[in-house]
Symmetry: C2
Subunit: 422 residues, 2 copies
């Protein structure tokens, strides 16, 4: 970064953003073939550059050891030949997805003969802020470029060397295929204030996407002057209705809670209809306890199965851990009200064979995904068939739920006349 040493940090951030904006203008006219050639070439080159990338990663790992990162953090940071293959495969997969840009979302001819098309276009410039996993560097670049956007990557400092090595490969390949060099840029300054500078530059940056802990997201939301796609964790519910199949209820709850505990679409809270609670809860409690899950219940749940008393706070908590809150509800209305009050509008499931209960639940639960007789764990771009995902949005505005290529686009109206005037 010799050039930037002579610039102030604010100037550096501004120039980088201006370059991204210029690149995004060029990218609006790029055909899919060019973007796909870059993705394929980059995939190949990442594997070919294994030695350099793993060497860079080794530097990150030894710094991480000195800085006392946990074993789990070290594991997330670590690259090896297999993981590099997975990253390359991910880029090839993005190449194989349909290009969202240019899609005619709808179109019609007006009575006066004016032909109106609503056409999908890139958002422009994405500022992507993430934590230490170096694979995200390549994934995010692939998704942003395929959707026609220029991207400014701000990775965690723990992965600085790895990210730099990866971005160098991606940028080298951009020259060969005719992608603007500033399509993918890395913010390669350690200064934490850089993020704050970028978040002010709404004349160049169209959207900020923070991916990481709640603290990071809150900081970005507070400081950003451009729209933010937020990915908060989920306080997800399974509601076992009076008309549930008992075996299915147990299986879905166990899967939703236990298949992976630390993810946003894992179940954190269980609601059971009172008419089924005495039969269902003891079986469920046994099953969950076998998996090491602690139950915290309201007074009615505790009368059926002895468990820790759940506080008001418990019902609002996303544990991301082997704990589940439990409440017995009088009816489906109470379940829906509970979910809309305590939940985080992420993913909620009902288990029922009653078609009216299912309809009421899907209509009134205000969440990005509402599941009927399926585990909450299915709210995921891959499971939904989006092919690639940059996160799961907890917003209602612009993009909700899994964000794939199309969620990184906008649209424009193209209107064709023959000298039409008003």
């Amino acid at each position: 970064m010799s050039a930037s040493e002579t610039l102030t940090l604010a100037q550096h951030c501004r120039e980088l953003s201006e370059a991204a904006k210029r690149a995004s203008s060029q990218m609006a006219g790029l055909d899919s073939a060019t973007k796909n050639r870059w993705l394929e070439a980059s995939a190949k080159s990442l594997v070919r550059s294994e030695a350099a990338i793993l060497q860079a990663n080794a530097r990150d790992l030894s710094a991480a050891a000195e800085n006392g990162l946990t074993q789990a953090q070290m594991d997330r940071l670590r690259l090896d030949p297999d993981r590099l293959q997975v990253i390359a495969e991910g880029m090839r997969q993005v190449a194989s997805l349909p290009d969202p840009c240019g899609e005619i979302i709808e179109g019609h001819v007006r009575p006066n003969g004016l032909r109106i098309e609503k056409v999908r276009v890139p958002l422009g410039v994405v500022f992507f802020i993430y934590e230490s996993r170096p694979n995200v560097t390549a994934d995010a670049a692939a998704i942003c470029v395929k959707s026609g956007n220029a991207v400014i990557l701000r990775g965690g400092k723990e992965a600085a060397h790895s990210s730099r090595a990866i971005v160098q490969v991606l940028q080298e390949e951009s020259h060969g295929v005719g992608l603007p060099p500033a399509a993918v840029q890395l913010v390669d300054v350690a200064d934490r204030e850089a993020v704050g500078h970028f978040l002010q530059l709404n004349e160049f940056i169209d959207v900020a996407i923070p991916r990481g802990g709640e603290g990071l997201i809150r900081r970005v939301v507070a400081e950003a002057t451009m729209p933010v796609i937020k990915h908060f964790d989920g306080n997800c519910h399974v509601y076992i209705d009076a008309a549930a199949d008992l075996e299915m209820a147990v299986t879905i709850t166990e899967n939703a809670k236990c298949q992976r505990m630390g993810v946003c679409n894992a179940c954190e809270s269980l609601l059971i209809h009172e008419t089924i609670a005495e039969v269902c809860l003891p079986v469920l409690a046994d099953r969950l306890r076998l998996r090491g899950v602690e139950l915290r219940g309201d007074s009615r749940a505790s009368q059926i199965v002895s468990m820790t008393t759940a506080t008001e706070e418990d019902f609002g908590t996303e544990y991301l851990a082997p704990i589940i809150s439990v409440a017995v509800v009088r009816n489906i209305d109470e379940a829906i009200a509970h979910i809309n009050r305590y939940g985080s509008h992420h993913t909620d499931a009902i288990v029922t064979n009653d078609i009216n209960a299912a309809d009421q639940f899907t209509q009134l639960v205000d969440s990005s995904a509402v599941m009927v007789n399926a585990s909450t764990r299915f709210n995921d771009g891959g499971e939904f068939g989006l092919g690639a995902e940059i996160g799961i949005s907890t917003d209602k505005f612009h993009a909700r739920g899994p964000c794939g290529l199309r969620e990184l686009t906008s649209y424009k109206y193209i209107v064709r006349g023959a000298g039409h005037i008003r």
Copy 2:
């Protein structure tokens, strides 16, 4: 507002927002018939309440006269039986539009049998801030309710009595048809700080929509903690290409500039290809001057037709007045670069018979609507066939261009399984 007198302003704003949120939860389950009954009943009742509404309007008008409003402002504020009929007709028209809620935007079955639907749902609570036109009170309420949202209306204080009388009618009709009473609420306190309080309440309000001057919009953007749909004015261009039909070029430019000068989709700047400028510009200058328009040109334009010299600032200005800036460009690339640099990404038009020029222009001009051989004045919800419009968004995020019913919605995924687990 006797109840609110005992509350602080902040508490009042909070309670009103909470009521709106509760109403919006109920509204998520409302069928179209109920919403349409309310729209029809309200239309009828507005006309029936003519005496009370015009009396309230007379109070606003006499206050306005005392406060020295301009004649134009007085005219915008004034209601009469005809205008009330137009307002009522507008509500009936919204009733006749298809309900966006419940629309299945897309759906598919996954290989594992999981059925996935992406369903359109209301955003939730809209905070609508507008200036003095009392008709907006009814229009905004109609569009928000039809799209399934609860709305908090904050009108200009100049129209306070008129808006109160209109909202009273709308609320009375909501009782009869089963719409929650808090579906439409008016912020009926004069205190300017109320807006600031509402803009902090992102736990209850899903989107803020300011409609009015740039100062109002900038204030809302700066203070809002929820998403904002912005409607800035437009610095719109007409580019006359080398391959333009001369007569069409003149007609479209004249229409885009002169049909209505003070609106966001009026033309503010004219770009002419150098090979056609000497023939075209003198005719155009004559035509525009006949309509009272002042031309301000760059040096090349001024050499062809004598005119005031345009400054850099002129090219970035939305005059909303009988002035137009003029530049002669060497080629279409220069025209596109000029528009993307100086324009406001609102509406830009090309006049050309060259298919390649049209394609390049539509692809690379980054505006909400790009017109080929049609006046910029067509970027409008009515002209696009949206039926009703709450404004023209200059954002790229969520909603771009004319905002009708669908632009006030989000979506959710509804996933149906048969005991599916991961």
